[in-house]
């Protein structure tokens, strides 16, 4: 069912040769407990319903290979969570995102190690930026409204104002790199306003996102608000793009015909589609990667009128 599997213990054992059979195992050594990586859906850690899995590039870890049905389950979980999440106060959502930053800080080393293993040259820098990004968007939770809402000076005896609403389920195709900063930087602006997200994470580094999932799971974030799928974007996204319960697509770094097909499929229920790329360094730029424009893209504007005069 899968390519040959190597254990983490093999790799971590000092002096171990990765070639099998080259050195006998030390019968007295402690065997490390290896983690079974799981996707994060509806607040639970799950394997793919298909039972399939993939192996990381370094051949060390297995991780779930999400199917079309996993995508569907994630959307269902997100839909179930949406009302409750959007119904929380902005202050509360801000505290939960701040808590995410706290939890990430506590697992800073683990996140950095994971990035390093995936080949990032400055893993600490990326982790720090990702934590700071979460903290920054936590602070936006009760402020973006003042920027995007308006009182409308209509020419008549009516009081008019426009406020923002979250859209609902947003599907994010996260950038391959920076796997963590790009993930945090795309999730936070989407969910801070009350949206819920189904995220197909980096194909280059799926493990760091799954560590982030553990941070999300311990941040008081209600289950289903963020759902992380690992696997192959090209396989899952077409189904998510035409899912009638999804309201928006946030597509990072996608090019070519497949991306066009996603846009075409999205039109079936008039999804809001954002396709964009940021160069690696721009993710670190607070005015770009951290712009409140990233929140605004996933908001609806609702205008309310009421007569003045009793």
């Amino acid at each position: 069912m899968s390519e040959r599997r190597k254990t983490g213990a093999e790799r971590r054992r000092p002096g171990a040769d990765l070639e099998p059979g080259s050195e006998p195992a030390d019968p007295l050594a402690r065997l490390a407990v290896k983690k079974t990586w799981k996707m994060y859906v509806g607040g639970a850690f799950v394997r793919s319903e298909s039972g399939r899995y993939l192996v990381t590039a370094d051949g060390v870890d297995n991780y779930p290979w999400a199917s079309r049905k996993d995508g569907r389950d994630a959307v269902t979980a997100a839909q179930a969570a949406q009302k409750g999440w959007a119904g929380k106060t902005a202050y509360n959502r801000g505290q939960i995102l701040y808590r995410l930053g706290e939890v990430m800080e506590g697992r800073r080393a683990e996140l950095a190690l994971s990035l390093e293993r995936a080949g990032e040259s400055q893993p600490e820098r990326e982790v720090d930026a990702a934590i700071d990004r979460a903290i920054s968007f936590a602070g936006w939770s009760d402020k973006y409204q003042s920027l995007f809402a308006s009182s409308n000076p209509v020419a008549g005896p009516h009081f008019g104002f426009s406020v923002t609403d979250p859209m609902g389920v947003v599907v994010i195709a996260a950038p391959d790199r920076p796997a963590l900063l790009g993930l945090v930087g795309s999730i936070c602006p989407v969910i801070v306003s009350g949206n819920v997200a189904v995220v197909v994470v980096s194909e280059v580094d799926p493990i760091t996102p799954l560590i982030l999932a553990e941070c999300l799971a311990t941040s008081d974030l209600p289950g289903g608000v963020v759902n992380l799928l690992t696997g192959k974007r090209a396989e899952v996204l077409p189904h998510l793009a035409k899912h009638m319960g999804v309201r928006a697509l946030d597509l990072w770094d996608l090019t070519g015909d497949d991306a066009v097909k996603l846009e075409v499929a999205a039109a079936d229920n008039v999804k809001r589609v954002t396709r964009r790329s940021l160069e690696l360094e721009a993710w670190y730029d607070e005015t770009r990667g951290g712009s409140p424009g990233n929140i605004e893209r996933f908001l609806e504007t609702k205008t309310v009128w009421h007569p003045m005069g009793a």
Binding site: S150, V154, H158, A266, P292, G293, E300, V304
Partner: protein, 504 residues
């Protein structure tokens, strides 16, 4: 102490039985015809394409008739723009963008737009007549709503031209380039204003395609644009039908597409633009719930219901086409509604007392009839006040369906005509559930005397516009647009600028 009712006197003789109690709205003092004088309006026998500031004949030499839907008489013929003509228009727009409009000082740009607003006000009389002749809407609506609101829209966005740097919290903005804009037939001039005014204010140039059944007011707008001395090519107007629109959408040098119309066509445009990176805004259909609670100011709610569904013959994307009544006041409201509907005057759009004019086209009339037949077949109860429709022209009596279920076609599909579907609810939660149970999300109305309830309902309704104790109100300063399949992007207000700018 209890007051006893005094027995009625001869002059105030009571009808003893409830069934006999009804009001007559017949002919005790009938209004004589009050037609608007039209002799001072000059409609040319033929209109060419407005490209690069000049009237230009279409390459293929093809023209189509535009009819008055109230008489079925030909009013004029207008050019049918081919893909080549559209290309010519886009090139003119690009040229004007590169050479003039993008280089102009923003305040100067604004001053041109102010000028357009002023000339529309000045020529409002003829504009409203043309609008009613060509589109069939009552003159009182084109006079009191369409034309003044169009002028107001230009006036509003004119003022934004030199303030764009402040509009997005200091984030840098820039114009997009050439905007291709396709507008519908229900508010021809007003939709042209909604599209052109913000586009120009943001520094873009425009190619506009009016709807094929209502091109005339756009021809008058072209004259106004000439009169305002707008630089050539900044606004180009190409008339035609679907193929012309498709050519505009597909043109590679168009940077932005704005469309108002049906959800079906909107989806096709979204698909056509997939992968092009062109900015798109869509203002599509609706099936709005107008929700009336028992504690509402009911007489005013009835006015709002009538305005909600019969304004502009119901050819309104945000029409309150689903009336949700709290069950306890269902019969009372229906009685009031019927009395009110009995006073509605259907007929000549140019008569100043006409409340409901002509249906815009034969095709639309057929669609309305088809859906009403479906409503009857599905078992809803159909009612219209006694009303004589003119022998000529496309007319449809105001119609109410009661006993409508959420699953009926007339409760789900946009009829785009003077047809109201009435449903009931028992609780606030049920009202919200029913209101939101549609793939549309353009607008909603809520009628209640309880402020706390209004705020809660406004929060829960999935609709881009929520009218509390009012309906069908519009203002240039007020963002308008839909949730879900009613489209995306907003028109009006600061938010409406985003459709025509790159914002970093």
């Amino acid at each position: 102490m209890t007051i006893k009712l005094v027995e009625p006197k001869a002059t105030a003789a009571g009808d003893r039985r409830r069934g006999e109690r009804r009001l007559e709205f017949a002919h005790a003092w009938d209004y004589a015809p009050a037609p608007e004088a039209v002799d001072h309006v000059k409609i040319l026998p033929r209109y060419e394409l407005f490209i690069d500031g000049k009237w230009q004949a279409p390459e293929k030499g093809r023209y189509f008739d535009t009819l008055s839907p109230s008489t079925e008489q030909k009013l004029s013929e207008v050019a049918e723009a081919s893909a080549e003509d559209v290309d010519r228009a886009v090139r003119a727009a690009r040229h004007a963008y590169d050479r003039v409009w993008s280089r102009m000082k923003p305040l100067e740009r604004g001053k041109y737009i102010f000028r357009i607003a002023r000339i529309i006000q000045e020529r409002s009389r003829e504009l409203c007549i043309v609008e009613s002749l060509d589109g069939g809407k009552p003159i009182k609506e084109s006079r009191d709503f369409d034309v003044p609101t169009a002028a107001a829209h230009f006036f509003y966005y004119a003022g934004w031209a030199d303030k764009l740097g402040y509009a997005f919290g200091g984030r840098p903005v820039s114009a997009l380039g050439v905007a291709g804009q396709i507008i519908p037939w229900n508010f021809p001039l007003l939709m042209a204003a909604w599209k052109i005014a913000p586009a120009l204010a943001c520094g873009n140039t425009v190619v506009l395609k009016p709807a094929e059944t209502t091109p005339l007011s756009a021809m008058f707008l072209a004259e106004i644009i000439q009169e305002a001395e707008l630089p050539d090519g900044v606004v180009n107007i190409v008339t035609g039908a679907g193929a012309t629109g498709a050519a505009l959408v597909a043109h590679p040098d168009v940077n932005k597409v704005a469309f108002t119309g049906s959800t079906d066509v909107g989806k096709r445009i979204q698909k056509a633009l997939a992968g092009t990176g062109k900015k798109l805004t869509l203002e599509l259909g609706g099936k709005a719930a107008n929700i009336v609670f028992a504690d509402a100011p009911l007489d005013q709610a009835v006015d709002g219901i009538v305005n909600g569904i019969f304004f502009n013959q119901g050819h309104v994307c945000c029409a309150g086409s689903r009336l949700l009544l709290e069950e306890s006041v269902h019969d009372l409201v229906i009685r009031k509604l019927r009395d009110r509907m009995a006073t509605l005057r259907v007929g000549d759009p140019l008569d100043k007392n006409t409340d409901i004019g002509a249906i815009n086209s034969r095709m639309q009339l057929e669609k309305i009839k088809e859906l009403c037949a479906a409503g009857e077949a599905e078992g809803a109860e159909r009612w219209s006040p006694p009303c004589e429709l003119p022998a000529k022209g496309f007319f449809f009596a105001p119609t109410v369906f009661t006993g409508v279920a959420q699953s009926h076609r007339i409760a789900r599909e946009e009829i785009f005509g003077p047809v109201l579907s009435v449903l009931t609810f028992r609780t606030e939660a049920e009202a919200v559930e029913k209101a939101n149970n549609t793939f549309y999300g353009l607008s909603a109305g809520v009628w209640s005397n309880k402020g706390a309830r209004l705020f809660k309902m406004a929060t829960q309704l999935e609709a881009g516009v929520v009218w509390g104790n009012t309906y069908n109100k519009f203002d240039p300063s007020s963002p308008f647009g839909g949730y879900k399949e009613s489209g995306f992007g907003r028109e009006g207000g600061r938010q409406g600028l985003a459709a025509y700018l790159h914002v970093d």
